[in-house]
């Protein structure tokens, strides 16, 4: 089951161009226990311009909370 996460960035369009590996803080939007939704953790991850088929999804929000309309892919490395 694909997981969904989000994170806050300065400009989501930066991530539309190519894959980027980075340290980031993500929020879990689909935890096994719903009570833990929005819990955050620091990860090393690859962010992809589009989600892979069946892969995990990343949503991006601007720094003041507005949601960028397109989905991205994410591969958590650790």
């Amino acid at each position: 089951m694909a997981k969904e996460y989000d994170t806050y960035v300065d400009d989501p369009t930066d991530f539309k161009i190519k894959e980027a590996e980075m340290d980031m803080i993500i929020r879990d939007l689909t935890p096994d226990n719903r009570r833990e939704k929005y819990g955050s953790r620091r990860v090393r991850a690859v962010v992809m311009p589009k989600p892979e088929a069946g892969g995990d999804v990343l949503y991006l929000r601007y720094q003041r909370g507005s949601l960028y309309p397109e989905k991205f892919g994410i591969k958590i490395l650790g």
């Binding site: 806050y8 226990n33 009570r35 955050s40 720094q63 003041r64």
Partner: protein, 482 residues
């Protein structure tokens, strides 16, 4: 009416007076409770008590409990129909008699205790309040309690806190606030974390007190005692030396970690009506112990476009703190008001007419230099005391007719400013730097009363008292309604 020992008795009274709705439907903590409370604030509807919270059986959530002047009046033990002016009089008179708290051996707030691996903030029904907020804000109507390590001073303040993980929260504790000073000036240089206790769902006067911007060194718990007209009962925390109100619904005990462990916090929809401050690295609160009452009630506010709890309470409390500040300096001030739609940014001051030149400047300098009103207040309108400053129509009339566009507008540049101020540029926000403005809508003191000051064409000003009384006494006889 009674002054409430906790929100349970407040809820009963508010239900009887029609100021509370018990919501039996299942409500989702994830945005639905926030959406309802936001609409309650914007329509001045009764406070909602959510009795069936999704994922959290056994918990209730009380939304925006003091978000209008009726419920604020009730928190002081007054009838909800008490007019604003009377609420202000009662608050002002009680403030003068601060009462020390008493320590009790035990309290309902510790009926349930979780420590160690049992600490899990996700077991608490912290709502996701606004879509896009940086996280679940557990502390929006509460007090964060911390002590100055070099004195007996204990500060209670309403500093927001957001859940990061099962035992960590982020917060906005700015360096110019009381608790920011304690943390950054007393604990950080010594390399020590700051013990804290967050009390959520205290007795209502304690929430009022935690929100008031008091002069330096004044105890919020003693002010709460003054408002209640009896001592607040405190109980010692389980894991540190702080004390919390014994009847509190939920208490989080822990320590604020040093800046090398800062973590991303925010953004959050704030009392300004906007989500202004971006996500940023901010202090982390590590929670070591959670205590709560049986059948707990979680209190939340929903800050945003007025009128929320902050605007409803601050229109009285901030105004009277500023009035006290100005009067203590001997300034010719008769009334001060912070209209709720101006949040804390707009302060209107009535000045005794024709006292001395540029009295308004004196007033602006003091307000903008006040430790909390300074950063949080941006605009002062000074009017003569023939203007009813609680009547915005009269204020706008004075503003439009007595403000000299060339000589009456005084800008104060490069002042400390709250980074939550929506109009600031990104750079100004990072530096907490902004501008203030004073609008002097008073007649110049050197204008001669009968030859230079234009007479005001108002019923109360232009006719003799005898004629006014005659007209008023015969008003209905003329065929008009009262």
């Amino acid at each position: 009416m009674q002054i409430f020992d906790d929100y349970r008795t407040f809820i009963d009274a508010a239900e009887k007076s029609g100021d509370l709705v018990r919501v039996k439907e299942e409500i989702d903590w994830d945005l639905e409770a926030g959406a309802i409370t936001r609409r309650v604030c914007e329509t001045e509807a009764p406070t909602p008590l959510f009795e069936n919270v999704k994922d959290y059986p056994g918990w209730k959530i009380l939304g925006c409990p003091l978000a209008n002047i009726r419920r604020f009046a009730m928190s002081l033990g007054l009838d909800p129909d008490t007019p604003l002016s009377e609420v202000m009089n009662v608050y002002e008179s009680r403030c003068e008699n601060r009462i020390k708290p008493v320590i009790v051996d035990s309290g309902p707030c510790q009926e349930n205790v979780m420590m160690g691996d049992d600490v899990n903030l996700f077991d608490l029904p912290a709502p996701m309040i606004h879509d896009g907020d940086g996280g679940r804000y557990i502390s929006t109507w509460h007090a964060v309690i911390a002590k100055d390590p070099d004195s007996d001073f204990v500060n209670w303040g309403m500093y927001r806190q957001m859940i990061h993980s099962k035992d960590k929260m982020g917060g906005l504790c700015l360096p110019f606030t009381d608790q920011g000073r304690i943390f950054y000036e007393k604990y950080v240089p010594k390399g020590k974390p700051m013990p804290f206790a967050t009390a959520i769902g205290m007795e209502p006067v304690c929430d009022v007190s935690a929100m008031v911007p008091l002069a330096a060194g004044i105890s919020e718990v003693e002010l709460a005692g003054a408002l209640k007209e009896k001592p607040i009962e405190l109980v010692k925390c389980k894991t540190n030396d702080l004390y919390v109100p014994a009847n509190t619904e939920l208490v989080l005990e822990g320590e604020m970690l040093l800046p090398d462990q800062f973590y991303e916090e925010g953004p959050f929809g704030e009392f300004t009506g906007y989500r202004t401050s971006p996500r940023d690295r901010r202090p982390v609160y590590k929670v070591n112990c959670i205590t709560h009452r049986n059948d707990p009630i979680f209190t939340m506010s929903n800050m945003g476009v007025p009128v929320d709890d902050s605007a409803a309470v601050m229109q009285v409390t901030l105004a009277l703190e500023i009035k006290k500040l100005l009067r203590n300096q001997g300034l010719p001030v008769t009334e001060v008001f912070c209209p709720p739609y101006g949040i804390t940014f707009l302060i209107i001051v009535a000045v005794r007419t024709q006292v001395y030149s540029n009295a308004a400047h004196h007033i602006g300098n003091l307000i903008f230099g006040h430790k909390l009103a300074g950063p949080w207040s941006q605009i002062v309108i000074a009017v003569d005391d023939d203007v009813d400053i609680f009547n915005m129509n009269e204020v706008f009339h004075a503003f439009s007719t007595k403000l000299h566009p060339g000589r009456g507008i005084h800008v104060y540049d490069r002042c400390p400013a709250a980074p939550l101020s929506p109009y600031l540029s990104f750079e100004e926000r990072m530096k907490s730097e902004g501008s203030k403005v004073l609008f002097d809508c008073t007649w110049p003191a050197d204008w001669k009363p009968f030859t230079e000051v234009p007479p005001k064409m108002a019923f109360r000003g232009v006719y003799t008292k005898e004629l006014q009384e005659k007209v008023l006494s015969k008003w209905t006889k003329y065929g008009f309604k009262e």
